[in-house]
C-alpha cells in the first residue's frame, strides 16, 4: 500500500491532534450545552457549507493561487437573484434558481481564471479587484431588484433541513459526496495531478507540457461553482433564499479551512479529505464563540489569530 508523502502525514496528524485537544477543551469548558442535539446539528450544518467552500478554495491554493472573490461571488449571485425575482416562474422556479446561480458563479470564476492566465497578473490582485467589483454589483442590484422569498418545494426542504427525521443525513451525505468527488478529482484525474504539479513548480509544469491555461480556467471555475453550491446548501437548510451580505465571513472561512486543514498555502501539496477536519474545526470555533457567549463579533479576530498561528506553524515545519 503506498504511503502519502511525508509532509502530508505530518500535517494530517498534527492537525488531528490539535483538533482533538481543542475538542477536549471545548467540551470541558462548555459542558452539557455542547452536547445537545440542536447544537451538534448546527455545527454539522455549518461544517457542510464551509467544507464545500473550502474545497473550491483549496483547489485554487493547491495550484499556487488564491481566490479572494469567493464570498463576493455568492453575494453577487444573490444580488442578481433579486433582479430576477419578478421572473421567477419563467425561470423554472426552484430548479431554475439553482441552475442560474451555479452558472453565474462558475462564469465569474472562469473570468477570474481567464484574466489570471492571460495577463499573468498575481491571483491575489485579480481576485481582489473582482471581489470589489462583484460586491459593488451585488449592492447595486439590490437597489433595483426586489427582495423576495423564493420558496422551495417542501419535499426538498425537508430533505435538507435538520429536523430529526430519517432524512437528517442527506445534507451530510451530500457534502461527503462532494468531498469524495473532489478528492477523487484531486488525486485520480489528469486535472488533479496537473494542479498539484503547477502548484509545486509552475516552471517545471510548463516544461513538462502541462496545459496551464486549461487547468487554471477549470480551477477558478470550480471555485466559483463551489461557492454557488455552498450557498445553495445553506439556503436550503434555512428553507428559503434571501439576500444578505455575509460575503466576507465566507471568504475567511474558505481560507481558514485549507490553512487549518493542512493545505500548504504555497501550493503543490495537501490532502483534500483532511479539509473536513479543518471545516469541523472552523465550525466548532464559531459554535464555541456562540456558546461561550463571547461576542460573535470577535469571530474574525479569533479566526484570524488561528489562521496566523497555523501559518506560522506550517512555516516552521518547513524549516
Amino acid at each position: 500500500m503506498l504511503k502519502e508523502s511525508l509532509m502530508d502525514i505530518i500535517r494530517k496528524y498534527t492537525m488531528l491532534v490539535a483538533f482533538i485537544l481543542f475538542l477536549i477543551i471545548y467540551f470541558f469548558v462548555s459542558g452539557w450545552k455542547a452536547a445537545s442535539l440542536t447544537n451538534i446539528l448546527s455545527i454539522v450544518l455549518r461544517t457542510c457549507v464551509v467544507t464545500i467552500l473550502g474545497i473550491g478554495q483549496s483547489l485554487v491554493i493547491i495550484g499556487g493561487g488564491i481566490d479572494l472573490s469567493i464570498g463576493a461571488q455568492i453575494d453577487h449571485a444573490i444580488g442578481l437573484m433579486t433582479i430576477l425575482y419578478p421572473f421567477k416562474d419563467l425561470l423554472g422556479g426552484f430548479t431554475g434558481i439553482v441552475v442560474i446561480t451555479l452558472i453565474i458563479t462558475t462564469t465569474f470564476g472562469f473570468i477570474n481564471g481567464l484574466i489570471i492566465y492571460k495577463t499573468k497578473l498575481p491571483p491575489f490582485i485579480v481576485t481582489f479587484a473582482m471581489m470589489l467589483i462583484l460586491e459593488s454589483l451585488a449592492t447595486l442590484y439590490s437597489y433595483y431588484g426586489v427582495m423576495g422569498i423564493w420558496g422551495f418545494k417542501p419535499w426538498l426542504i425537508s430533505l435538507f433541513s435538520f429536523l430529526p427525521s430519517p432524512t437528517v443525513s442527506v445534507p451530510i451525505l451530500f457534502t461527503f459526496l462532494i468531498l469524495l468527488a473532489a478528492s477523487i478529482i484531486a488525486r485520480r484525474t489528469i486535472y488533479g495531478y496537473s494542479i498539484y504539479a503547477i502548484g509545486s513548480s509552475y516552471k517545471a509544469a510548463t516544461a513538462s507540457g502541462v496545459p496551464i491555461g486549461k487547468v487554471t480556467l477549470i480551477t477558478y471555475s470550480l471555485s466559483g461553482f463551489m461557492g454557488g453550491l455552498a450557498w445553495f446548501m445553506y439556503s436550503l437548510q434555512v428553507g428559503y433564499i434571501f439576500a444578505y451580505t455575509a460575503g466576507t465571513i465566507y471568504l475567511l472561512d474558505s481560507i481558514a479551512v485549507p490553512v487549518i486543514g493542512g493545505i500548504d498555502i504555497m501550493g503543490g501539496t495537501g490532502y483534500v479529505p483532511m479539509l473536513f477536519i479543518g471545516a469541523l474545526f472552523v465550525s466548532t470555533i464559531s459554535n464555541f464563540i456562540i456558546l461561550m457567549k463571547i461576542n460573535p463579533l470577535l469571530e474574525y479576530a479569533v479566526k484570524g489569530i488561528i489562521i496566523i498561528v497555523a501559518l506560522i506553524f506550517s512555516r516552521l515545519l518547513k524549516k
Partner: protein, 309 residues
C-alpha cells in the same frame, strides 16, 4: 520606446483625468466646484491619504498591505474608547498609534518568516476587523468636551488637514528620494537579491515598511474620526481598495521598484473627486467601489502592457 511613452502618459494622465472629471462635474452641476465640495475633497484626501502613504511604500517594495482599512476602522473605534477611558485625547491618540504600529510589526514579522504578504496582511486585517467589530458595537460620538478633537470636520477651510497631509507627503517624498532607507525600499522592490548582496538588511527594511503602514493607517483612522466626529467601526470599510487603487493609479508597480508618493496622493485626489462627483450626481456609493475595482484592474494591466520595458 513603449516604456518611455508609458512613463510620459502616466505622468500626465493623472492631471488630465482630474481635469476631465472636474469639468464633467461642473457641466453636470454648476454647484460641483463649490468651496464645500473642494473642502470635502481635501478632507477626504487627507484622511484616506494616510492609508495610501503606507500602502504605496509597501507596494514599491513588492509587497501588499490589505489591513490598512481595518486598522483605520479599529483606530477610529479605540481612539474614542480611550478618550473616554482616560479622559485625554492625547493619551488616546498615542495609544491608538501604538496599536497601529503593533499591527504593522505583526504583518512585518509574518512577511519576514516567509508568509506571502497578501496572506499575512489578510490575517492581520481579520484580527483588526474582529477587534473593531467587537469594541465598536455602535458608533460612539467624540465626547463634547473634547470637541476640539473634531478639528477636521469643523475647520473651514480645512487648514489642519492640508498641513498634515502636505507635511507627510513632503517628508515621505524626501525620505523616498534622498534618504538611504527610503531608497532601499525601491531597491528591495526592484531587485531584492541584488540589494541583499550589496549588504542591505532586507528584513529590517520590510519591518520598517509594514510597521509604518500600520502606523500610517491608524493616523488615517484618527483623522477620519475627527472628521466624522465619532468612532465608527465601518468608517474605513473597504478603503484598503482605495489605498491600493491610489497607489496603482499613481504609478506604483505591483512588481515593485516603482512609484511616487506625491503621485499617489494626486491619484487619491482624483479618486475622491470621482467619489464626490458620484454623490453629486445622485449615484449610489457602491458605484464608486465598482469603478475602483475596474480602475485597479485597468491600471495593473496598463503597467504590464506599457511599462515593463
Amino acid at each position: 520606446m513603449l516604456h518611455q511613452l508609458g512613463k510620459i502618459f502616466s505622468d500626465f494622465s493623472l492631471f488630465f483625468f482630474l481635469v476631465i472629471i472636474v469639468v464633467a462635474g461642473q457641466l453636470s452641476n454648476p454647484l460641483f466646484l463649490s468651496p464645500a465640495t473642494i473642502y470635502t475633497i481635501i478632507r477626504g484626501t487627507a484622511c484616506l491619504g494616510f492609508l495610501a502613504l503606507g500602502e504605496v511604500l509597501v507596494i514599491i517594495s513588492r509587497g501588499i498591505d490589505l489591513s490598512v482599512g481595518q486598522i483605520a476602522c479599529l483606530s477610529s473605534v479605540i481612539v474614542v474608547y480611550f478618550m473616554i477611558m482616560f479622559q485625554s485625547p492625547l493619551i488616546a491618540i498615542v495609544l491608538t498609534l501604538l496599536m497601529g504600529l503593533g499591527f504593522g510589526v505583526l504583518s512585518g514579522t509574518l512577511v519576514n518568516i516567509g508568509i506571502p504578504p497578501f496572506l499575512a496582511t489578510l490575517g492581520t486585517m481579520w484580527i483588526a476587523q474582529g477587534l473593531a467589530e467587537y469594541l465598536g458595537v455602535k458608533p460612539t460620538p467624540v465626547p463634547s468636551h473634547f470637541s476640539s478633537f473634531n478639528i477636521i470636520s469643523f475647520e473651514t477651510p480645512p487648514v489642519t488637514a492640508i498641513i498634515l497631509i502636505l507635511i507627510s507627503v513632503i517628508s515621505l517624498e524626501i525620505l523616498a528620494t534622498k534618504v538611504p532607507i527610503g531608497r532601499y525600499i525601491y531597491y528591495v522592490g526592484g531587485n531584492e537579491y541584488g540589494t541583499y548582496i550589496s549588504g542591505v538588511d532586507v528584513k529590517l527594511i520590510k519591518y520598517i515598511i509594514y510597521s509604518f503602514s500600520g502606523f500610517s493607517a491608524s493616523i488615517g483612522g484618527i483623522l477620519l474620526t475627527s472628521w466624522t466626529t465619532s468612532g465608527y467601526k465601518w468608517v474605513a470599510l473597504g478603503q484598503e481598495f482605495t489605498a491600493i487603487a491610489a497607489s496603482v493609479i499613481g504609478g506604483a508597480s505591483l512588481a515593485g521598484g516603482e512609484g511616487r508618493v506625491f503621485k499617489t496622493i494626486i491619484a487619491m485626489v482624483l479618486l475622491i473627486t470621482i467619489s464626490s462627483l458620484y454623490t453629486f450626481l445622485g449615484l449610489p456609493p457602491t458605484l464608486f467601489f465598482l469603478t475602483e475595482g475596474f480602475l485597479i484592474l485597468g491600471a495593473a494591466l496598463f503597467q504590464i502592457k506599457f511599462r515593463r520595458g
